[in-house]
């Protein structure tokens, strides 16, 4: 069966990219190659974790967002905010000021997604009781981790809690609420402010969901800049409150590390940062780690506070959010009632359908062919230098060998082999130069800067 490629929010801006290999070397799924002097992301292997964006020295990797004016094609414009947004601002900027600016931007409703965390917890507890044979349960919270499991740990897919993440529950809640107030489906626009690329990808091509619940995505740094600009320009006195007021401690801490793991019974572990997650999943897959009930796995260091679109230092953001969580502000009773009313509806619609394994690891769907390919790789590895220099445009010698066997690269891209072939007079120096130019582009061999 032909699998559709994932939607990816991470894009390489070609005229900015200098083809420097930083992104290629940090990619945890080896999804990047350099061709003609530009980074090239392989769609089936990328999990949208954003490591490449963090590593890029010239900001050539961006997170593609929707045109902001798209919100005005809806009568009811809902901003779904991630809780980490409030952690981005200095202490002297209040929640109310931030909400006021977001409303000024044109939103009719402002809602923090983690308001619906309670419903997620209840759903997950029920799920774990029902499917107790599927221990250890892996949270579906982080879309980069869900995709990572699909492509690199296909045998663990069934351990993922097949429930909608909280952002989808909130979106469903708000849409239903506005529909019940009399608005038509196409009058309601729900926009999620995202702290990372993976959430965008998950919104645009959701895994295990049949319909897209969110109409558009806005990058968190965009909102951050708007709010800062407005406040610096003197709109300090504006005040507005969110539709639901202050969040509970559980909600505020939900997207931080240990936010989920602290809520469930049994042995629950929280692991953040994608390499840590990979190392851990490797052990879970071997059943070296058993007797764990629940795993909270997040791709970013310090979870969402470390999202690629966060502007504030993640440690400071975590500190602020923890402070915010300690404040005890009584919720408006009517707000609480509203969510309670919709609770049964949301719990009824919380399930995800199948999450498909989509391994990127196998060399061929036919095992016999795969074996032949593996033998070829072993032969190629014997002549490659094994220093993983990246000068061929692939992150490791082994990756080049695989690319060669799959027909996606040529062995003579290896600069060591080029030297050998030139010495043996099997290729001319000009040919060797042309090969390197194909990998690195013409500009790489020109003198840089004026004079």
């Amino acid at each position: 069966m032909e699998k559709l490629p994932f939607y990816h929010a991470l894009k390489v801006v070609e005229n900015v990219c200098i083809g420097c290999t930083h992104c290629m070397n940090v990619c945890p799924t080896k999804a990047i190659r350099v061709k003609y002097g530009k980074a090239d992301i392989k769609k089936n292997a990328c999990v949208d974790c954003g490591e490449c964006l963090k590593a890029c020295p010239v900001n050539a990797i961006i997170v593609e967002q929707d045109d902001f004016n798209k919100i005005f094609s809806f009568k009811q414009r809902v901003a779904l905010l991630p809780t980490v947004l409030l952690g981005q601002f200095p202490d002297d900027i209040t929640e109310d000021q931030i909400y006021a600016v977001i409303r000024d931007m044109g939103f009719t409703h402002v809602f923090e997604v983690d308001e619906a965390v309670d419903i997620q917890i209840e759903g997950t507890k029920t799920y774990m009781r029902k499917h107790s044979q599927m221990r250890p349960f892996i949270s579906s919270f982080c879309p980069a981790v869900v995709r990572l499991i699909q492509v690199r740990f296909p045998s663990l897919v069934e351990h993922i809690v097949h429930l909608k993440p909280v952002v989808d529950i909130s979106s469903q809640f708000y849409r239903k609420r506005l529909q019940d107030e009399g608005y038509k489906k196409d009058e309601i626009g729900i926009f999620y402010v995202t702290p990372c690329a993976a959430k965008i990808a998950a919104v645009k091509s959701p895994v295990g969901e049949d319909e897209i619940l969110i109409d558009g995505v806005i990058n968190m740094d965009f909102i951050y800049n708007k709010v800062m600009l407005s406040i610096k320009q003197g709109n300090k006195d504006k005040q507005a409150v969110s539709d639901y007021g202050h969040l509970s401690k559980t909600s505020i801490e939900w997207t931080l590390t240990n936010g989920e793991a602290s809520q469930y019974p049994g042995r629950c572990l929280a692991i953040d940062e994608i390499h840590n997650v990979i190392a851990f999943l490797d052990k879970v897959e071997n059943e070296e780690i058993s007797d764990v009930d629940f795993l909270e796995l997040r791709a970013c260091d310090r979870s969402c506070a470390g999202g690629v679109l966060s502007t504030e230092n993640r440690f400071l953001a975590v500190e602020r959010l923890s402070k915010r969580a300690k404040k005890e502000i009584k919720k408006q009773a009517e707000a609480e009632e509203m969510l309670t009313t919709y609770r049964p509806y949301l719990l009824e619609n919380i399930a995800l359908s199948e999450i498909e394994p989509r391994s990127i690891l196998s060399l061929d769907s036919d095992m016999m062919v795969a074996m032949e390919k593996m033998k070829k790789i072993q032969r190629i590895m014997r002549v490659l230098p094994g220093i993983d220099c990246g000068a061929c445009g692939a992150p490791k010698c082994k990756v080049l060998a695989e690319d060669v066997v799959q027909g996606n690269a040529k062995m003579n891209q290896c600069v060591f082999l080029q030297k050998m072939l030139t010495k043996e007079e099997l290729i001319s120096p000009q040919e060797s130069f042309d090969i390197s130019e194909r990998t690195w582009g013409k500009g790489r061999f020109e003198k840089k800067g004026p004079q």
Binding site: D282, N286, E287, P357, S359, L361, L363, D364, M367, M374
Partner: protein, 137 residues
């Protein structure tokens, strides 16, 4: 197609690396994830047995169109009574090994559960050879 991985006796910090390497190979060969899991779980147990009891060993993997055969051969004390070793909960592991979370006496029974065919040959004072055969399809 054959692969060979070395196992170091007594080095618990490296216990599992051979199994992980085998897992990587099987993933590349597009073996069914469920079968990979069963194989890896059983060879991990066998690998830990070598680390815990033997001086050194190796894991030989042979992949055929219809089956995957893993032979784990060690130089070590051997097993005096294989039937007893196959019983759940029976263990000769030292208290030090148990403290590290190993040696619960589930090793061989677990391997048997996850393998189509299990053959054990052992000679006291010489070593043990464990053969696990799993059929594809």
């Amino acid at each position: 197609m054959d692969f060979k991985f070395d196992i170091e006796g007594g080095n618990f910090s490296k216990a599992g690396t051979a199994s992980s390497d085998v897992k990587k190979v099987l993933k590349k060969l597009n073996v069914d994830p469920k079968l990979i899991k069963r194989i890896v779980v059983s060879i991990y147990e066998a690998e830990v047995n070598v680390v815990a009891h033997a001086y050194e060993g190796e894991m030989n993997v042979s992949i055929f169109p219809e089956k995957i055969v893993v032979r784990i051969v060690d130089k070590g004390p051997g097993i005096p009574d294989i039937d007893l070793a196959m019983q759940k909960g029976y263990s000769t592991a030292s208290p030090a090994v148990r403290e590290m979370g190993f040696g619960a006496g589930m090793g061989l029974p677990n391997i048997k559960k996850n393998t189509n065919e299990l053959n054990i040959k052992s000679e006291v004072g010489v070593g043990t050879e464990v053969e696990l055969i799993n059929y594809l399809n």
